[in-house]
């Protein structure tokens, strides 16, 4: 096979790769920042076919749960219903949690792996986090 034919075949393969995006797949992405208000993320996907995505809502999989994270973490992003209008961040692949809120109870994990909880009224113990080193502070 001549060099030109190899180059041609390679170009076609690259073009095919570039022109096909599976909108129902999940793509690894790096967290660039998180909005203070609604907690949406700005993420930079590792796949070069995808642009930096802004205002991406986080779907934690727990109703009533929200999370604050530090920049630099890794998350999987996808598109609800395969629709490019609705990017979502779904599964964490690593990173540092600053704070988790579950059903109004604030559970904060610091880098020192401390757990902070604040019990909701009528809930004497508050939520527990498996694998954490222990409850160090209960917020009022």
């Amino acid at each position: 096979m001549s060099r030109e034919r190899i180059k041609g075949a390679l170009a076609r393969w690259i073009e095919t790769r570039l022109t096909r995006l599976d909108y129902l797949a999940l793509y690894p992405a790096r967290v660039v920042s998180q909005a203070q208000g609604d907690g949406t993320l700005t993420v930079r996907p590792e796949d070069p076919r995808l642009p930096t995505l802004e205002r991406v809502p986080v779907r934690l999989g727990l109703p009533g749960a929200t999370v604050k994270v530090l920049a630099g973490g890794s998350v999987l992003v996808g598109f609800e219903g395969g629709d490019p209008r609705y990017p979502v961040a779904l599964l964490w692949r690593g990173g540092t949690i600053e704070e988790v809120v579950i059903d109004g109870s604030v559970v904060a994990l610091t880098r020192a792996d401390h757990v902070h909880t604040s019990a909701t009224p009528g809930s004497p113990t508050g939520p527990a986090i498996a694998g954490a080193s222990g409850v160090s502070k209960v917020k009022a």
């Binding site: 073009e15 570039l18 022109t19 096909r20 995006l21 909108y23 070069p48 076919r49 995808l50 642009p51 930096t52 995505l53 802004e54 205002r55 598109f79 629709d83 490019p84 209008r85 609705y86 990017p87």
Partner: protein, 218 residues
């Protein structure tokens, strides 16, 4: 036969396919001594003209077999990954047109162009795929390159065609009719002929008169 000319040069045989959705293309042979390049205007005597771009042409013996595609022929070009935050559809289409070199038709409904997108993600892809995805998500059923070389998109209104024709033959199973159109405006898809929706038109010419094949919507 002087029926069809490309940039003024006689095309003694060929075929032009115009689908309801997508690019039209013409495969023809022009009596030239060197390949034509760039913009191409296919003039059909007494009927009008189609504006496109030479996709492929080469000298073979004493003529040039060539392919012309509608518009700028740039919908295969790559467009980089882009993310849009709170924009109108017009902005996304404008970027696709800029990357492809196509021009948007003034016949595109303003209601489509002003539609708001809270967010839109365009991956690195070719312009046709980017356009198709946008229209698919927005529920816009059709796009095509018009005879004037512009990009149209929207919902069909199926106006009645005023073309006068003679029915030469018909194949009901394939929803196909062979017509003879003696004169008049170009017949394209997206119109109705006696109540039947025209889905695709193919003109063929050579040693005999031009034949017009019409496929109807099922």
């Amino acid at each position: 036969m002087s029926y069809v000319r490309v940039n003024g040069v006689l095309a003694d045989q060929g075929a032009i396919d115009i689908p309801r959705i997508g690019l039209w293309r013409a495969d023809l042979r022009v009596l030239a001594q060197e390949p034509l390049r760039g913009r191409a205007e296919i003039a059909i005597a007494g009927a009008g003209a189609l504006r496109g771009t030479v996709y492929q042409a080469s000298l073979y013996r004493d003529s040039v077999p060539m392919r012309v595609v509608g518009g700028a022929g740039g919908l295969g070009r790559l467009i980089g990954p882009r993310y849009y935050d709170r924009v109108n559809v017009n902005a996304v289409l404008g970027d696709i047109c800029k990357a492809s070199g196509e021009r948007l038709s003034p016949l595109v409904a303003p209601a489509i162009l002003s539609r708001r997108l809270d967010r839109w993600m365009m991956p690195a892809t070719n312009c046709a795929a980017a356009l198709t995805r946008l229209l698919e998500v927005l529920g816009i059923e059709a796009w095509r390159i018009l005879a004037d070389g512009t990009l149209w998109l929207g919902g069909e209104t199926w106006p009645a065609s005023k073309v006068e024709y003679e029915l030469v033959a018909e194949d009901p199973e394939r929803a196909l009719a062979d017509l003879f159109i003696p004169a008049g405006p170009l017949l394209g898809p997206g119109v109705t002929l006696e109540g039947r929706k025209v889905s695709r038109v193919r003109w063929v010419w050579g040693s005999e008169r031009v034949r017009t094949f019409v496929w109807f919507e099922a």
